[in-house]
Amino acid sequence: MSLLQIKGLTKQFGGLTAVNQVDISIRPKSITAIIGPNGAGKTTLFNLITGIYKPDKGSISLAGTSLLNRKPNQIAGLGIARTFQNIRLFKEMTALENILVGMHNHLTSNLFGTLFRLPRVRLEEQNAAKHAYQLLETVHLADKCNELSKNLSYGEQRRLEIARALATKPKILFLDEPAAGMNPKETKELTDLITQIRNDFDLTIILIEHDMKLVMKISEEIIVLDYGQRIASGNPDEIRTNPRVIEAYLGKGAVS
């Protein structure tokens, strides 16, 4: 039984077919990496699943529910959360507030309750702040809770984005190049963090990553895209030795 089922997914930008007839099936609680050379269509694939782009053809379904023709906020409500390749934090808001925004769908206060500051709303706000703080502790940012997110370091911003995505209580977490721009030590910590949150939050994780050490270490399944097409999939060992993958990365002739 697969949690996320993608069939024949296609997206064209003018004459360029960014994603071409891609089929993907993701098992629950797995860690899957999507790799491929630059321009292979990895981020486009993420944007299609999270509703930022509309696919031209194909189907996407999460546990049997179709994600087509839904807005990004509705897709988030169904249990898909993501981080972004070029960090998209709410810069002028504090780390804690960023996470509180992530909790949007799980807060019930309405305008009336807010304006009259009903006890129920106050309690909900207090509890939300405490839960947000716990999430910050998970990504080791608790001491930065009142810091504006734009003032955090690069690695901290990447971790805050993960925590913010976790605040939406997702079923699947999409990480778009989580290790980009990190030094080896930070990458190592991130690797541990990803495995840890998968276990603690019972998550399915799909990540795009160029750091092969990280990819080979944590992923159970790897999908390789090239020119918008899925050219291979399998466990790390199969991918490492797959001639088509080596060809895509290193060019023809590299195999022999």
Binding site: T50, I52, K71, P72, N73, A76, G77, A81, R82, F84, R88, L89, F90, K91, E92, M93, T94, L96, E97, L100, V101, G102, H104, N105, L107, S109, L111, T114, L115, R117, R120, V121, L123, E124, E125, Q126, N127, A129, K130, H131, A132, Y133, A142, D143, C145, N146, L148, R164, A167, T168
Partner: protein, 413 residues
Amino acid sequence: MIRMDKWIDTFQKNRTSQFIVLGLFILVSSASVYFLERSVTAFLLLLGSLLLLHYTHLTNRTKWIVGLLLLVVIIPLATSGGTSQQDYMEVAVQTGIYVAMALGLNIVVGFAGLLDLGFVAFFAIGAYTYGIFASPQATQLFHSDFFPLAGTWFWPFILIGGFMAAIFGILLGIPVLRVKGDYLAIVTLGFGEIIRIVFNNMDKPVNITNGAQGLSQIQQPEIFGFTFSLASQFYYIVIVILLVIIIGVQRLEHSKLGRSWKAIREDEIAAQSMGIPLVKTKLWAFALGASFSGMMGVVFSAKNMFVDPSSFTLIESITILVMVILGGMGSIPGVILGAAVISVLNLQILTEVTNFLTQNISIPDTLSPTKMQRLIFGVILVLIAVYRPKGLITAKAKQYDPAKLAEQPISDK
């Protein structure tokens, strides 16, 4: 020199001494307003005590009490000394109206980041909502003796005016929110002008707004047989509405809705990916912001007993925007300060300087400072953009106490 530093340091920590200095300041400035015959400087100092209050380290509760005392008791009393109380109060009422509108626009521009250049339209809608029904115009329109409505209807009409403005905010929002940034600014600018021109021309075929002549003989507010007619009486109506608005926006700012607005301002795509519905959240910003303007529109028409389209021109929208930018986008105390500075500048300082200049050196009428309003706004905007892009009082993020956050959440069941 070292002793001076030490003294400043203790002063910054000592609430009692701050309280005493503030009290003295209020005493001196209010006494000078009371005893001097029409002194703008003294009046400005008295208003300045509110700003001083903002910067003291007193507890929030003390600040509210002192602030209320100043607004409700001290300022009306101090201005009652000479013959010019109504002049002062006129300025205070207009300032209050502008502060409310600036706080409304701050929701749209400051919190949600949607540039609106036609904000005065909502003020016009509030003003006309009351104006039509509370003037002989309604008698003509509906051929009924029930109209014009009596002055007691003013009170529910504050809410109705706000509600009507909110409806128009949503009506404007639905088509307009498809465009972003500069385009949004242009479309809202167009909307502001359309509303004014529609009011200007709705005298035929059916005379609804009485066109360019405007509506006159609008009923003054009345309660238990008491009629509000003087500026010093309207002052209290404005203060009450303003307090409700300030408490409202303060609560909104750090609520789920307030955070959603800021998230949209910071990054629409990320906000959507967190589950925030873009259109609905933006429409709330338009509706709530517009409603503040609408409420004050009702007060405006009741106070002047007259409305015509010429009060709702583009320069008014720009004035409100300048208030928000000068004060600090997204900062509630900043926007209040910005609105107060600009309206006092417009209503008092420019006229006073003009009087002074014409009395002492005869300057040509075309050079009088009151006619240079736009130039002065332009200069203010340029200076703010260069030196204080975040406004006079920068918006501050809410600070949480980590010790409290580390406690276990309380179950709400």
